[in-house]
Amino acid sequence: MPVAVSAHHSAFAFDTENTLTIDGTVTEWFWANPHCLLKFDVVLDSDDVVHWVAETQAPANMIDAGWRKNDLKPGDGITITVQPARNGNPVGRIVRVEFDDGRTLDVSQDRTGETGNRYHLSGAPTD
């Protein structure tokens, strides 16, 4: 019987030594527990499209950092830096996101458990 599993919090699945920076287009901003997810499409030179998913933090933390539930919308252009999954699948943990409107989402990489990630919003969020 299939068993659902989770990457919630564990760092073992990700390459914490290296990052990957790619351009993409937002397809979904999933604002929920345990962690918000940013889904985006990346177009390769071959014109093939790869569907990526990257996680951020819980909504409570995102609100504390100045984010709102509807800040990101499908179609938004982004340049995103992630710690990619070790298994090569198009998933990762967000290190930094630059949005076309000038906002940035920076993450202090501190997943020691005692502090958790710290997210910083810069730029002016749109109303």
């Binding site: 564990s10 699945a13 999933f30 998913v53 409570a60 020691t112 502090t115 958790g116």
Partner: protein, 302 residues
């Protein structure tokens, strides 16, 4: 940075947090002789010399140092599971066996994501005392002459502490005897508090769920239905309260040990607390969209 390095950083951070938390009540001591209190029991922070109200824990409380202090993903706050010798717990043989059966996503023995068996990821009730060690953030406390209600932010869970003079229930197989009446084990147990002075409430909780239903923390440390958990809520001044927790679980640990000692401060009473639910639907979507792929498992199949 390696995973082990991360744990070392966690230990350092934890020590800093502990140092800050423990130093707060020691800034200075003000005699409260006029109120009949032993001055040694009430320390007043220099930044706020106003004494606490007597026998009153009510308020909206948040950990000093911010949200990060209460997350405790790396294990209970006073004993993070970082592999350092001073943080090794005094397991019984059975306690170690139970710990080794838990496949946690955090801590020094964390497993790969596809291998975990943490009941939290099925949105099971965390139970007590794990509620004290999983994202303890904004915590509301209300009280009347009979009882104190503790409302946790995570999952909108709450528990009662009786302060009406009743005895701590007697533990029996599968539950407790409370006033001679059998009551079954509960996720949040049976809590009875007693004021030892006008600023200190000592609470004992028994009758929690057995070790096959609940964990103590996110690193897989166990807790059993044989545990007595003692909490001390100590108002050090009007704006601060120290919350200490000691685990006495002879089934799993050879001796009592302190799991938490966190200083809380009063938040603005008008604070509208953010919801932080564990939703099975959201959790399932999280698995489908992210967790399985990150684990090398697609749609639940290897």
């Amino acid at each position: 940075m390696s995973h082990q390095d991360n744990h070392c950083l966690g230990a350092i951070t934890a020590r800093i947090v502990l140092a800050v938390a423990f130093s707060l009540p020691c800034l200075c001591t003000v005699s409260l002789a006029q109120s009949g209190q032993d001055p040694s029991t009430v320390n007043i922070g220099s930044s706020d010399p106003e004494p606490a109200p007597q026998r009153d824990l009510s308020g909206t409380w948040t950990p000093v140092g911010g949200t990060r202090v209460g997350i405790q993903a790396g294990g209970v706050q006073a004993m993070p599971n970082d592999g350092s010798p001073e943080h090794l717990l005094p397991y019984t043989e059975y306690g170690l066996q139970v710990y080794e059966s838990h496949r946690a996503l955090e801590g020094v023995d964390a497993v790969l994501p596809a291998e975990h068996n943490d009941p939290r990821n099925r949105c099971e009730p965390l139970g007590f005392p794990r509620m004290n060690h999983y994202n303890i953030r904004m915590t509301q406390i209300f009280q009347n002459p009979q009882k104190i209600a503790v409302l946790y932010q995570y999952d909108n869970r709450w528990r009662n502490i009786w302060i009406d003079g009743r005895e701590v229930p007697e533990m029996v197989d599968g539950g407790v005897l409370a006033g001679g009446t059998y009551k079954a084990s509960k996720w949040y147990g049976y809590s009875v508090g007693e004021w030892t002075d006008d600023f200190t409430l000592v609470v004992k909780t028994v009758g929690m769920m057995p070790e096959d239903r609940v964990w103590l923390d996110s690193t897989g440390r166990p807790i059993s239905d044989a545990a007595t958990v003692e909490e001390v809520f100590r108002r050090v001044d009007r704006n601060h309260m120290e919350w200490t927790e000691t685990i006495d679980d002879p089934k799993l640990y050879t001796e009592p040990w302190v799991a938490m000692k966190i200083m809380f401060e009063l938040a603005d009473p008008h604070t509208d607390i953010i919801e932080m639910y564990c939703s099975p639907v959201e959790m399932e979507y999280y698995y489908e969209a992210f967790g399985n792929s990150a684990s090398g498992v697609e749609n639940g199949n290897e």
